[in-house]
Subunit: 213 residues, 2 copies
């Protein structure tokens, strides 16, 4: 990317906040008649500070109107563009257990430019089953589909002992990022992103807050 490129690297925290803003502003637009939203309103919904909201919006080029707030449509459009929701990423889910099924049939992804376009499993009993609008396919067909459709992301929900093997074959087929729900580390070549999702963390944190707070 060139020096003059508008798109700067967003930090994890900012990215997360922008997605939250997007979510809540979109909800507000659906539920209410108002076409504008103030930084204080967004801040309240997202449990953060209004100054931070203004700074974040300024960072992605949204200008507000003093005494009015921000035009909701403009906020949505800016986040949409900044996060590249208009260039959808295609993903496959590997493992058609309960978690894989939940993720594959979750209909909240498309709003964020995410398209789950396949579910795979090794278990012959699961192959052929319907998961939402998708049909579970045998894992042998993964490589062909990834190559043919240029799929870039794999969502890994297989058991820990299969995780490395399945991840390796996904990467060999051309996947560039792995969202890993298996409770084990996986090793991938340089240039492949891995995000390890540690599902117990959220609950453990709540539990800790209860005990200490």
């Amino acid at each position: 990317m060139g020096d003059g490129d508008r798109k700067r690297e967003l930090t994890h925290a900012l990215l997360e906040r922008l997605i939250h803003y997007y979510h809540f502003v979109a909800s507000q637009v659906e539920e209410q008649q108002s076409s504008t939203v103030t930084s204080a309103e967004i801040a309240k919904l997202v449990h953060t500070d209004d100054t931070l909201v203004r700074k974040d919006l300024a960072a992605i080029g949204v200008r507000g109107l003093p005494r009015v707030g921000y035009r909701s449509a403009e906020v949505l459009r800016a986040i949409h563009r900044q996060l590249g929701f208009d260039q959808p990423s295609q993903a496959v889910v590997l493992g058609a257990g309960r978690l894989g099924g939940a993720l594959a049939s979750y209909d909240g992804f498309d709003r964020y430019g995410l398209d789950i376009c396949g579910v795979f499993d090794t278990d012959p009993d699961k192959v052929g089953a319907k998961v939402g609008t998708l049909t579970v396919r045998p894992i042998e067909e993964l490589g062909e589909m990834v190559r043919r459709r240029g799929i870039s992301i794999a969502v890994l929900t297989v058991p820990a002992e299969a995780a490395q093997r399945v991840a390796t074959s996904a990467v060999e087929a051309g996947v560039k990022a792995i969202w890993n729900f298996a409770s084990t580390n996986i090793v991938v070549p340089d240039g492949v992103f891995v995000r390890h999702e540690h599902i117990a963390v959220g609950l453990a944190e709540l539990s800790y807050l209860l005990k200490s707070g």
Copy 2:
């Protein structure tokens, strides 16, 4: 809590790192014969810096051995104590769909002092079904179970339109924290913790990294 109390408030980030350390040190103990681990080894597994690992461990009172590292058992014990894994928190899952089922049957919680002891749904077709070792119960029985067993956490996986209603009845029954997977905000009285889990964030972030990095 008194001034002299040992247990200080842990930040979100530190809490998350400690859980990761716990997870990986425990795995390492299971897999290898070594009973010690260095800060550099932990740092590599968790993708962070070895200085930070030493600082974190010092913060929870673990002392290492120069030229050797840390005794794995001591690391585990300290995190275990600090995070209160020995005083288990009991939780119920509300909503027995795919996601609720996945969470209710996930066996990785107990290691962190978390005990899922009930699954509830309104759908008569789901009531009575087995989810892991649990049986789905009608939501009408929620209050009684929460009161009788002193359950403090509810994991909310019902559809958005039911979220507020179900959350309210859980709070009325005595639940003190809600792990909210419904894609809507819920309002609770002061003193009740809510953690909103926005499932699309992880995937959206990977997608963004692919497009920009």
